[in-house]
C-alpha cells in the first residue's frame, strides 16, 4: 500500500480564553485537548486508572487497619534503625523518600534539557534519575530483608495484626514494581536519547514509529506519579 498523503497541520482557529476556551475545546473537532499529543494524553489517562489501583490498595489497607481488633504494630518503632548507637525512628524511610523526591527533581531537569535538544545532558540526567530509582528499590530490598529477618511475614508478625505484614509487602511491593518499571523505561529512553534516535528519526524496534523528545516528558509524567504515590504511602502507612 502506498503511504498516505501528508496533510500539513496548521494552527487551529483562535480560541477564547478561560472557561469559554475550555468549552470551545470540548466543542471542537479533531482534538479535545489541543496541542496535547496522543502519547501524553494516553499517559495521563493511564495514570488516572493507576490512581484507582493505588487508591483501592490504600483503602483496603485502611479498612484492615481500622477494623482490626488486635494492636497494629507501631511503624515508628518497626521502621527504626540503630545508627552509630542512636535510635532513629523512620530514618530509612526518610532517606528513601528524600532519594525519590530528588529523583523527581533530576527528572524534571531532564525534561527541560530534552526540549532544548541537549542530548548528553538529558541522557545523563535520566541516568541519574534511574540511579536514584534503583537506590530507592535497593533500600526497599534492605528494608524488606530486615523486616523478614525480624520475623515479619505476609501471614503474621511478632507485634500484632497480621494485616500489617500483608499490607506492607503488598503495597510497597506494588509501588516498588512501579519504580522498577520506571527505571527500566528510563534506561531505555536514556539510551535512545544518547544515541540520537530523536534527531535521526530512527524507528522504534517494536512499534516502528519515529520517537520524539516528548517521550522524555511522558516518562517524566509516570515518574512523578510514582513519586506522588509514594508520598501517600509514606503518609498513610508510615506516619499514621
Amino acid at each position: 500500500m502506498s503511504a498516505p498523503l501528508k496533510t500539513h497541520p496548521a494552527e487551529s482557529l483562535p480560541r477564547p480564553a478561560g472557561m469559554a476556551g475550555l468549552a470551545a475545546d470540548w466543542a471542537s473537532d479533531q482534538q479535545t485537548f489541543k496541542k496535547v499529543s496522543w502519547g501524553k494524553a494516553m499517559m495521563w489517562i493511564f495514570l488516572l486508572s493507576d490512581t484507582f489501583v493505588f487508591g483501592c490498595f490504600l483503602l483496603a489497607y485502611m479498612v484492615a487497619r481500622m477494623s482490626t481488633t488486635v494492636p497494629w504494630p507501631n511503624p515508628s518503632e518497626v521502621f527504626a534503625l540503630e545508627i552509630a548507637g542512636t535510635h532513629m525512628p523512620l530514618i530509612l524511610i526518610a532517606i528513601m523518600t528524600f532519594v525519590l523526591i530528588s529523583s523527581s527533581g533530576t527528572m524534571a531537569m531532564a525534561v527541560n534539557y530534552g526540549y532544548r535538544r541537549d542530548r548528553k545532558m538529558t541522557a545523563v540526567l535520566m541516568l541519574v534519575t534511574a540511579l536514584f530509582g534503583a537506590t530507592f528499590v535497593g533500600m526497599q530490598a534492605f528494608e524488606w530483608s530486615k523486616l523478614i529477618a525480624e520475623g515479619v511475614r505476609p501471614w503474621g508478625n511478632p507485634w500484632g495484626a497480621a494485616q500489617f505484614g500483608s499490607s506492607f509487602f503488598m503495597i510497597t511491593g506494588f509501588h516498588g514494581t512501579h519504580v522498577t518499571f520506571g527505571v527500566i523505561f528510563l534506561l531505555i529512553i536514556a539510551r535512545k536519547v544518547w544515541r540520537g534516535d530523536f534527531e535521526t528519526e530512527r524507528r522504534g524496534f517494536f512499534t516502528s514509529r519515529k520517537g520524539r523528545y516528548e517521550i522524555v516528558e511522558i516518562t517524566g509524567l509516570y515518574w512523578h506519579f510514582v513519586d506522588l504515590v509514594w508520598v501517600f504511602i509514606f503518609a498513610f502507612f508510615y506516619l499514621w
Binding site: A3, L5, T7, A27, D29, W155, A162, K210
Partner: protein
C-alpha cells in the same frame, strides 16, 4: 419540530495533527495474525469472544438439563453445577460481553466512525488482543487443572472461594480464575487507553464530540468507566490471590474448616464485596452503554429518521456512567449494612432509572412516524427495547431494600439480570452483526436464516426468562443444582423448569444456525456494496468495502454534519452522509 437549518460546516477548522504513519505489514503473519490494524484486531477479539462464549452456552445447556430433569440426567453433580455456574457467569460477563463490545465493536467502529486511519497506538492495541487471548487460555486451562475450575460463583465471594468446601478452592481453579482476570485487566487497559485517546484526540476534521454517532459515545463512555472500575477488581483479585497463596488475611476472618482452625484471622469478607461490586456495578453499564449506543444508530438508520433528542441521549449516557459508580452496594443488601447506607444506595439506584427512561422514550419517539424497515438489525433493536424495559422494571423491584431481601437469592434475580444484561445486550450484538457484517465482509448475511434466528431467539428468550421470574417468586433458590423435597415449592414448578430447559436448548440451537450463517454468507452471501443500509455514518462512506488498511485511501474524510441526517426535507435522497457538503444543504442537526 425538527430544527432544520442550513449552511453548517462553512467555518471548517484546518487540520491540527499530521496524518499518522501506519505500520505497513509485509507478510501474511503481520497482516492477519500479528496485525496492528484495528479492524483485524476487532475480528480476532470477536472470534475469540464468541468461541469462549460458546463454551459458556454449552455449560448453560448442561445446567438447564440438570435443573429441568434432575432425575433423568446424572451429568451434573452439585460440585460440577457450581463450577458450570461460575464459569458460565464469568465468561459471559467478562470474556464475551465486555470483550466483544469494547474489543470487538470498539476496535472496528471507533476509528471508522470518527474518521481516523487506525487506533492511535496500533502496537499496544495488538498486544491488548494477545494478552486477552492469554487470559482466555488461562481461564480454559482451569477446566483441565486438577480439581477443575472454581465453583465459587461468578462473584467469587470469600471466604468460601478459597476454602476446600468449594470446588477449586484448595486446588488450581480459583488461582487460575484470579490470574486470568488480572491478565484480562492488563490487556484491556492497553486497548482501553487506545479507544479513549482515539475518540478524544484522533477525530477527523469537522467531527466534534457532539457529531459523533451514539455508538461511539456508548463505547467511549463504557471504556472510560472500565478504566476506572477494573482497578477495583484488579486489587480484589491480587488480594484474594495472596490470601490463597501466601496465607494473608485480607478477606479471611478467623475460620474453622473441616473441624480445623485455620491460620487466617482478622480479614473482612465484606471488603471484597465492596471492591468487587465497585467494579461489578459499573460493569453492568460497561456492557449496557455500548448496547444503548449501537441500538440508537440501528433504530435511526432503519427507521430513516434522525435520533430523537440526540443531546439528551449523549448526556443520559454520560450521567448513567457517572451514577453507576455510586450504586454498587445495592448488590449487598443481604450482606447487611447501616440502614442509612441502604437508603442512600436504593435512592441512587432508582435515580438511574431517570436517564435510562429518557433513552427508552427517545428510542420510541425516534420510531414514532418513522419509515420503519423491518430489517434484521431493526428487529433485534426493537426486541432489545422491550427486553430492556422488562429487565429494567424488575430492576426497580430489586433496587428497593425491602423487596430485594426476600427475592435476592431466588431465581427472580437470575431472570432479572439475564433479561437486562444477558439477553438485551446480546440482542444488540446480533443486531449489530447483521448491520455491520456487510461492511466487514462485503456480503449480506442470509435473510431467511436470520429471520429464523431472530424469532427463535426472541420468543425463546422470553419463554425461558418470563417463567423464571415466577419460579423465583415461588421461592426457588438460585445456585441449587436440584430442589429435592422442598415443601414450599409447588409441584408445577418442576414442569415449568422442564419447559424452560427445553426452550434453552432450542434457543441455543438457533445460535448454531447463526454461526453457520456467519460462515456460509462469507462465500455465498449477496454482494452488499459499500452502503447497503443507505446510512449516514462515516464507516459506510469508505472508498472500498471492506475498508483497506488505513481505511480512507489518500484523503481523510471531512465531516460537515451530524450522524443523523435522515429524511431531510429537500434533500435528493433520504439520507445525507456525514462527509457530504451539500451546498446550502439543510440538516436536522441542532444549532450548537
Amino acid at each position: 419540530m425538527v430544527d432544520v437549518r442550513s449552511g453548517i460546516g462553512e467555518a471548517l477548522p484546518p487540520p491540527e495533527v499530521e496524518d499518522v504513519e501506519l505500520y505497513h505489514p509485509h507478510s501474511w503473519w503481520t497482516r492477519y495474525v500479528f496485525s496492528q490494524d484495528a479492524k483485524i484486531i476487532a475480528i480476532q477479539y470477536a472470534t475469540t469472544a464468541i468461541a469462549i462464549g460458546m463454551v459458556a452456552l454449552v455449560l448453560s445447556w448442561l445446567m438447564r438439563l440438570q435443573l429441568g430433569f434432575p432425575d433423568t440426567f446424572q451429568l451434573v453433580d452439585a460440585e460440577a453445577y457450581y463450577q458450570y455456574i461460575t464459569m458460565h457467569g464469568m465468561i459471559m460477563v467478562i470474556y464475551l460481553l465486555t470483550a466483544l463490545f469494547l474489543g470487538g465493536f470498539g476496535n472496528y467502529l471507533i476509528p471508522l466512525m470518527v474518521g481516523a486511519r487506525d487506533m492511535v497506538f496500533p502496537y499496544a492495541n495488538m498486544l491488548s488482543y494477545w494478552i486477552y487471548l492469554l487470559a482466555v487460555l488461562v481461564l480454559v486451562a482451569s477446566f483441565f487443572a486438577p480439581g477443575g475450575p472454581t465453583g465459587a460463583g461468578w462473584t467469587l465471594y470469600p471466604p468460601q472461594a478459597v476454602l476446600s468446601g468449594t470446588p477449586g478452592g484448595r486446588d488450581w481453579g480459583i488461582i487460575l480464575m484470579l490470574s486470568s482476570l488480572i491478565i484480562f485487566i492488563i490487556g484491556f487497559t492497553m486497548g482501553g487507553l487506545n479507544y479513549v485517546v482515539t475518540v478524544l484526540q484522533g477525530r477527523a476534521r469537522g467531527m466534534t464530540l457532539m457529531r459523533m454517532p451514539l455508538t461511539v459515545w456508548g463505547i467511549f463512555t463504557a471504556t472510560v468507566m472500565a478504566l476506572l472500575a477494573f482497578p477495583a477488581l484488579f486489587v480484589a483479585c491480587v488480594m484474594m490471590l495472596f490470601d490463597r497463596l501466601l496465607g494473608t488475611s485480607f478477606f479471611m476472618p478467623a475460620i474453622v474448616e473441616m473441624g480445623e482452625q485455620l491460620q487466617h484471622g482478622g480479614g473482612s469478607p465484606i471488603l471484597f464485596q465492596h471492591l468487587f461490586w465497585f467494579f461489578g456495578h459499573p460493569e453492568v453499564y460497561i456492557v449496557a452503554l455500548p448496547a444503548f449506543g449501537i441500538v440508537s444508530d440501528l433504530i435511526s438508520t432503519h427507521a430513516r429518521k434522525n435520533i430523537f433528542g440526540y443531546r439528551m441521549m449523549v448526556w443520559a449516557i454520560v450521567i448513567i456512567g457517572g451514577l453507576s459508580f455510586i450504586v454498587w452496594a445495592h448488590h449487598m443488601y443481604v450482606s447487611g449494612m447501616n440502614p442509612y447506607f441502604g437508603f442512600f444506595f436504593a435512592t441512587t439506584t432508582l435515580i438511574i432509572a431517570v436517564p435510562t427512561a429518557i433513552k427508552v422514550y427517545n428510542w420510541v419517539l425516534t420510531l414514532w412516524r418513522g419509515d420503519i424497515h423491518l430489517t434484521l438489525p431493526m428487529l433485534f433493536a426493537l426486541a432489545f427495547i422491550v427486553t430492556f424495559v422488562n429487565g429494567g422494571l424488575t430492576g426497580l423491584f430489586l433496587g428497593n431494600v425491602v423487596v430485594d431481601v426476600p427475592l435476592s437469592d431466588t431465581m427472580f434475580v437470575v431472570a432479572h439480570f439475564h433479561m437486562v444484561m444477558g439477553v438485551a445486550p446480546i440482542l444488540v450484538i446480533f443486531g449489530a452483526i447483521y448491520h455491520w457484517y456487510p461492511k466487514i465482509t462485503g456480503r449480506m448475511l442470509n435473510e431467511t436464516l436470520g429471520q429464523i434466528h431472530f424469532w427463535v431467539t426472541f420468543v425463546g428468550a422470553y419463554a425461558i426468562f418470563f417463567p423464571m421470574h415466577y419460579v423465583g417468586l415461588a421461592g426457588v433458590p438460585r445456585r441449587y443444582h436440584e430442589l429435592g423435597e422442598a415443601a414450599f415449592v409447588p409441584e408445577s414448578i418442576n414442569d415449568l423448569n422442564a419447559f424452560i430447559s427445553i426452550m434453552a436448548l432450542i434457543v441455543g440451537a438457533a445460535q448454531i444456525l447463526f454461526l453457520f450463517n456467519l460462515v456460509w454468507s462469507l462465500r455465498h452471501g449477496r454482494e452488499a456494496g459499500g452502503n447497503p443500509w443507505r446510512a449516514t455514518t462515516l464507516e459506510w462512506q469508505t472508498p472500498e468495502t471492506p475498508p483497506p488498511h488505513g481505511n480512507w485511501g489518500k484523503e481523510l474524510p471531512v465531516v460537515y454534519r451530524w450522524a443523523y441526517d435522515y429524511s431531510v426535507p429537500g434533500a435528493p435522497e433520504d439520507f445525507i452522509p456525514q462527509n457530504h457538503p451539500t451546498p446550502g444543504g439543510a440538516s436536522h442537526e441542532a444549532a450548537p
